[in-house]
Amino acid sequence: MSPAILNTIEVILNGLMAGVMYSLVALGFVLIFKASGIFNYAQGVFALFAALTLVGFQTGQIPFAHVINVVLGTEYHHWGEGLNNFIAIVLTMLVMVGLAWLVERLVLRHLVNQEQIILFMATIGLAFFMEGLGDLMWGANIKVLDIGIPSGGSFWWEDVTKTWAPAESDYYGMYIDVLDVWAAVVAIILVIALTLFSQFTKTGRALRAVADDHQAALTVGISLRTIWVIVWSIAGFVALVAGIMWGAKSGVQFSLSLIALKALPVLILGGFTSIPGAIIGGLIIGVGEKLFEYGIGPLIGGATENWFAYVLALFFLMFRPQGLFGDKIIERV
């Protein structure tokens, strides 16, 4: 194969990997949107908060240390060596479940039957609140998240792909970050697990029932509030996974919350109500923006990755507003 083809393959592969990362965030949106019709703007912040909390537990940070020190004039920061990865992840998950419960209790419960835009505004408020809370609890500095996932380029893959090019070309092999491969594997497992859960368990069936028809769900004896807490907990779990992957990739920093914005075009492509749509939408955007940057970027001055996804989403809004897999929007006149 010629180096040009190999380069294109490399671009596509890296696009797929980037797409998986987008999909991870988009998944959380879809789950909540399906079950409660709420576009949860705070999903990105959830990922950030989960990552912050995980690092906090891992490194033995004292929550609210800064506030405590200012008020009491003390100098506490850490309570010890920190917890091992597994316990830290379980504890973080518990925190996310508690958060879901609080969101239902303090926000959703009071906004039942309100306009969608009001619920959306509430999640924007929630996003800012959570960002502030994260800052206050764990501090604003950029943190390293290391739970032992290998990262860096794969030399093995570089060597293998090097042999595909003709010997006389000075092709140096493909670069693939091992972390991205792990993210892809985790995403696949996550989607399979979510699918099995929703198809084959009683709770999953109740979730689908609520997503389908609130009124009917109530009459068969399903408590919407319980379901909402479960859904937001699952979304919290997805946020945790996304937070771990993004945090391991680029450090736990507050700009992490902005990945919510990147999930938006993914959702418009895939449809707000489709889990497979979130995955495929993410992959299309990942591959699309990398290929566009590689092929056309140099002709128009580069940096196309910043806007390509949004323009693509705009075209979708014009021609297929329900997305590739979303429920067709039919309004009765």
Binding site: A209, Q215, V220
Partner: protein, 276 residues
């Protein structure tokens, strides 16, 4: 076949007056209004164990509102609901479902993306003992429970003769079958009281006859108490043990089909004598 069961079918078919004494549900002096609009005014009647009770009345008489009060979608400003011998507090619809009241809707509220089987399994949620999360944690127990419920649901599927559409997403089914699946989902709950909101609306004659037969069979074989709203007078007079008539949110008649047929206020309401 023992004689008594045969007799019972015959009785209900020819609408002999069967005797029911034990009260299952009673509404007492219910008044409900939305803003300034009065939907129900001072309504009282009871539903007795084992009977088929019809609620009739012209359009806008408050029949569906009455059903919504019974199943907890609406909370009346005045009046009491007594169920199973106890006064009922202000409960949510899903709590009322757990107490043993199932219902269907006038314009079908099924889980359209789910199969017939899944719809009916969801209908059994009140019968499933392990909590929502327990299902995730103890897989073995959950599986055993699932199988038990599945058997029960299959019986209902056989009963309603919908074996061939078990795996079909209900959104794809024709209207008449959707109505039948919705009945099936309500039956799956094995409730004490079954509320049917216009179970025969929009059906052709053959479908209506089928539905009548199912309702009578449910009442006879499972002993389920049924309250139904229906517009087809022929159907109501044939299958109901007792009828309550609403007009403009008021109770204007209550009694056996024969009594209702000869009730002057009811005749006036249906023939449109002017109200003063």
């Amino acid at each position: 076949m023992d004689v008594t069961a045969g007799e019972k079918v015959l009785n209900s078919a020819v609408n002999q007056s069967r005797q029911f004494d034990e009260e299952l549900l009673a509404v007492k002096n219910i008044s409900l209004s939305f803003g300034g609009v009065k939907a129900l005014t001072d309504i009282s009647f009871d539903i007795r164990k084992g009977e088929i009770r019809a609620i009739i009345g012209p359009n806008g008489a408050g029949k569906s509102s009455m059903l919504n009060v019974i199943n907890g979608f609406y909370h009346p400003q005045e009046g009491e609901v007594w169920f199973d011998g106890k006064k009922r507090g202000s409960l949510k619809p899903y709590e009322i479902a757990h107490q043993g009241i199932a219902r269907t809707f006038q314009n079908i509220a099924l889980f359209k993306g789910m199969s017939t089987l899944d719809n009916m399994m969801t209908g059994r949620i009140t019968k499933m003992k392990s909590g929502l999360l327990a299902h995730v944690l103890w897989k073995g127990k959950a599986e055993r429970e699932e199988i038990e419920h599945r058997e029960r649901v299959e019986e209902i599927i056989d009963f309603l003769e919908i074996q061939s559409i078990r795996k079909t997403p209900v959104g794809k089914l024709p209207y008449g079958l959707q109505k039948r699946v919705e009945l099936g989902r309500a039956l799956a709950a094995e409730s004490k009281l079954l509320l049917l909101d216009e179970p025969m609306a929009g059906m052709n004659l053959e479908e209506k006859e089928d539905m009548c037969r199912f309702i009578l069979d449910v009442n006879d074989q499972f002993g389920t108490t049924i309250a139904l709203i229906e517009h087809d007078m022929g159907v109501v007079m044939d299958i109901a043990d007792r009828v309550v008539v609403l007009d403009y949110g008021r109770n204007i008649g209550d009694g056996t089909p024969d009594e209702i047929r000869n009730n002057q206020r009811v005749i006036d309401a249906y023939l449109g004598v002017s109200h003063d």
